[in-house]
Amino acid sequence: MKSAVIIFPGSNCDRDMDVALKKFGFKNQMVWHNDQEIPKSDLIVLPGGFSYGDYLRCGSIAGKSKIIKSVVEFANSGGLVLGICNGFQILTETGLLPGVLLQNKYQKFICKNVHVKINNKENKYFKNIKKEILELHIAHNEGNYFCSEDEIKSLNDNNQIAVTYCNEKGREDEQYNPNGALKNIAGIFSKNKNILGMMPHPERVIDKCLSSNDGSFFFENLFENLK
């Protein structure tokens, strides 16, 4: 399986993603933002970080970068695109995913482990995954997902809500919502489930000695599903 990680100036989880993808079997390539074309891949990843400094709305400049056209084309032709953290923000900026990521409710950067519930397994990302709840890690200042009433209805109707913040038992109370996201949303799919954007970082939790090992389930499973 081949994957490609796009590097924008200011991306800072690109290496971590590269390490994770390779650990679980992908042949990964790094692609620079000024390149026009993306090498043939089964999966494109937009990594976390602060693309172009994120001095404007997060992800807005990356959403208009040279490489992004190829990402959009790839996605529109059904290719798998995964956006983590800043990558999720970029996906909303390109319009590939609906909604927006606002500043965290408590106006602080938050770095900690969170639990998320997998809401839909009928897709390449989570099909056959043995867990219902994953312990992942968040590190962001703008992860407060928001969208219009019509959009949330459509997300619900099409089973597009991928993962939601919860406790270790799967309870989705407000107290387990770290950033104020609408309906505890931590990640969403595109309509046909080929695009996934999420705030938590699976690539930071891929070893028993790290704060969790649940990212391993995510990547292992994804690799198997793409085989």
Partner: protein
């Protein structure tokens, strides 16, 4: 403009210093030259009050690749790997403008590290604020934490440790010390020493603006009522540009075109160019019209003294300019050939085709003033005779809960949750423990690091305090199973022109040195911050020690959280019950006098090394050092982390139970072991002549201390967890 004494004094120079400049130059300097002198001769850059004392520091050791004098120190961590690290203060700017002050402090120290060819892999910080009741404290704390996070998070370097304290002596002068560790291949280290004549001098990074002009001089002055007016001297940080600069520099460093490289930190283009030339025993010629400027009509004076951030100066091999430029173009950074190295041994500046400055380098560097300032010794205070009857009305559990919720003891999660501490994917011990631990990427090795200071002890008796803080650092590294290797120090003190403050400095340095020698724990880098004084009130002496240790197999890391019911809890090291200057004495008994705990370096070393032996044998289940708040606070913190209870019984020693539980004797650790391992542990301890007490057991959730009523571990968790969050957000 005619330069006279008054203008020199306005630049922070002393009258005698101005006369010395005129004598050395054999003429009066022009304004640009005066600016250069004031930048190079201020305390911050010249170390004129501290140098004779710093020279005595223990800076050598088997593992030391580079000691003080470079951008940062370097130690060997085996194979081809080395760690580059340093701590630096950004106190004055952070008080004036907390967000930018702290942010650029973090940016500056990271540049010091990647200038040497290392990729930064961890940040730490030591931050100290005034009393929580002081009207400025909350906003300063909020701003500093946001600034540190804002810069480090954007750079994608994890902030894995730190220290925060509150003390009214910082009411008018907060301390913000930032530390960075970088990883470098031993064979690919870059230095600032220029070599060769007619080599191109390259400017890369951000454009030069008017920000931060005279920042280093500001950092060498005491504060008065008009500090707000100094806001323009605080630099503005741009972490995004620094991230690009980091990647571009590392890309250029992978080739062979760099002769020397130096970041533009304090005193900007002035100190970086002079330092490179001085170390290479060369001259340097710069054409200031070539310097990329952000603002119009900048004068040579402004260009030379600007402290705009995210800039580097490089001496390249001839003919490599195009290759280098390509890299900086890729990263969208400015790149300009602004001069060359010469054989004149002078700094010569050209502007609009005229020579605007010409100064022999040795005058600026080697002939900078050195002062052997007068200092006064602090006598060891008399021990306090506590009235033990006063203790009778106290309950251990009640005192414990109070101590756990004190500003200086309570959890600092509110702070470190705002720092990205997991990016780079190698953090195996996050903040909130004895030290932060990161894997050396792609290897089985890990590096442990912590930063410590003990202003209360240093204030009571600087010599003991200086020793103690080095020992504390050593203990914190041992507490995660690492072997301590070396330290960096950030020496924060008051006004060196006052004998008392100067004495605190001299004796703390002496103490640091004694401990560093005995423990073979050399100082490889550091920084001095004097003049932490407002309206005649100085801070408590606060040397901050950043330590780095190595774990050869990261799977052997030991953590502090209590693990399993019925496991035994032991105190390693002898408890004498030293209460003076303890948290218990100061906060519960309201007694602020007395000597700090005695530091016995032999015991410190022996106990620490023995603990490492126990860990190497796989006999320790959890480990924590005993520091503020004594044995019971240490055990409680282990229990809080592990969400476990414990049962303690004071051993039959002739010490009052309060002295036993709350005393702050040095050189001690708490270990948790399995009952079946007790005899093995006892043998190793006896063979190494280490004193120990068996004091109790790990329990499920109940906390039972001697015969006091049972409490639940959640009570202690609650006491410890919320003070800071409530203080900041409620």
């Amino acid at each position: 403009m005619e330069i006279n004494e008054q203008i020199a004094i306005d630049h922070g120079l002393k009258k005698e210093e101005f006369n010395k400049i005129c004598d050395l130059l054999k003429r009066t300097p022009n304004i640009t030259e005066l600016g250069i002198f004031s930048a190079m001769w201020n305390e911050h850059c010249s170390y004129k009050s501290s140098r004779i004392h710093l020279k005595k520091l223990n800076t050598k050791g088997k593992k030391v690749i580079q000691g003080p004098g470079e951008n940062a120190g370097i130690i060997d961590i085996e194979d081809d790997d080395a760690i580059v690290f340093k701590i630096e203060s950004h106190n004055h700017p952070s008080f004036i403008e907390p967000y930018q002050g702290a942010a650029t402090g973090v940016g500056g120290i990271m540049r010091d590290v990647f200038t040497m060819g290392a990729r930064p892999i961890a940040n730490l910080n030591s931050i100290h604020f005034g009393s929580p009741q002081h009207p400025k404290t909350k906003n300063l704390l909020r701003g500093v934490v946001k600034g540190i996070g804002g810069y480090g998070n954007c750079m994608g370097i994890p902030t894995i440790g730190g220290q925060t304290s509150f003390d009214e002596s910082y009411n008018g002068n907060i301390l913000v010390n930032a530390m960075t560790l970088g990883l470098v291949n031993k064979k690919k280290i870059f230095y600032s020493k220029a070599a060769g004549i007619n080599k191109p001098v390259i400017y890369v990074g951000s454009k030069t603006g008017r920000d931060g002009i005279h920042g280093a001089s500001m950092a060498s002055a005491i504060f008065d009522d008009k500090i707000e007016e100094k806001k323009p001297t605080v630099q503005v940080g741009d972490p995004f540009t620094e991230k690009l600069l980091l990647e571009a520099c590392l890309e250029l460093m992978a080739g062979k075109s760099i002769i020397s490289i130096q970041d533009m930190g304090a005193a900007g283009l002035t100190s970086s160019s002079i330092e490179m030339a001085s170390k290479g025993n060369l001259g340097i010629e710069l054409n200031l019209n070539k310097v990329p400027c952000r603002e119009e009509k900048m004068t040579p004076y402004e260009i030379m003294l600007s402290e705009s951030q995210e800039r580097m100066l490089i001496v390249l091999e001839n003919g490599k300019e195009a290759e280098a430029k390509k890299i900086f173009d890729k990263w969208n950074l400015d790149f300009a050939v602004i001069g060359k190295t010469t054989d004149t041994k002078k700094i010569e500046l050209l502007f609009d085709s005229k020579k605007v400055a010409e100064i022999p380098i040795n005058i600026l560097a080697e002939n900078a003033p050195i002062y052997d300032r007068k200092w006064k010794k602090t006598k060891l205070p008399q021990k306090i005779k506590f009235n033990k009857d006063d203790f009778k009305k106290l309950k251990i559990t009640e005192v414990l809960k109070k101590i756990l919720s004190l500003p200086n003891i309570s959890s600092k999660e509110w702070i470190w949750e705002q720092y990205d501490h997991t990016v780079m994917g190698d953090t195996i011990q996050k903040p909130g423990s004895d030290s932060g631990v990161i894997r050396v990427h792609g290897t089985r090795k890990a590096v442990a690091t912590s930063v410590d200071s003990s202003a209360v002890y240093c204030y009571a008796h600087p010599l003991t305090g200086g020793k103690q803080v080095v020992c504390e650092s050593w203990r914190n590294l041992i507490s995660c199973g690492s072997k301590p290797i070396a330290i960096t120090n950030c020496l924060n003190f008051g006004n060196p022109e006052k004998e008392k403050n100067m004495g605190e400095f001299v004796e703390c340095v002496k103490g640091i040195n004694e401990a560093s020698k005995f423990l073979d724990y050399p100082v490889v880098s550091g920084n001095v911050s004097f003049y932490n004084e407002t309206k005649d009130k100085g801070i408590k002496p606060t040397p901050a020690i950043g330590g780095v240790g190595l774990i050869k197999d990261y799977k052997k890391i030991v953590t502090m959280n209590l693990k399993n019911n019925e496991n035994l809890i032991l105190v390693i090291g002898k408890t004498e019950g030293h209460i003076d200057q303890s948290v218990f004495a100061i906060n519960i008994l309201n007694e602020k006098k007395g000597p700090p705990p005695v530091v016995n370096l032999f015991n410190e070393k022996n106990n620490g090394e023995t603990v490492l032996k126990l860990n190497a044998e796989g006999l320790i289940n959890s480990l924590h050092d005993v520091s503020l708040g004594g044995i019971i606070t240490a055990v409680s913190k282990m229990a809080i982390k592990g969400k476990k209870g414990f049962k303690l019984n004071k051993p039959k020693v002739l010490i009052n139970k309060f002295d036993y539980y709350f005393g702050e004797d040095q050189g001690r650790y708490i270990i948790e072991i399995e009952p079946k391992n007790l005899s093995k542990v006892q043998k190793i301890l006896k063979d190494n002549s280490v004193h120990y007490d068996e004091i109790g057991l790990v329990a499920e959730k109940d906390v039972i201390i001697d015969k006091e009523p049972i409490i639940h571990i959640d009570d202690l968790i609650k006491s410890n967890k919320y003070w800071l969050a409530d203080y900041m957000d409620k």
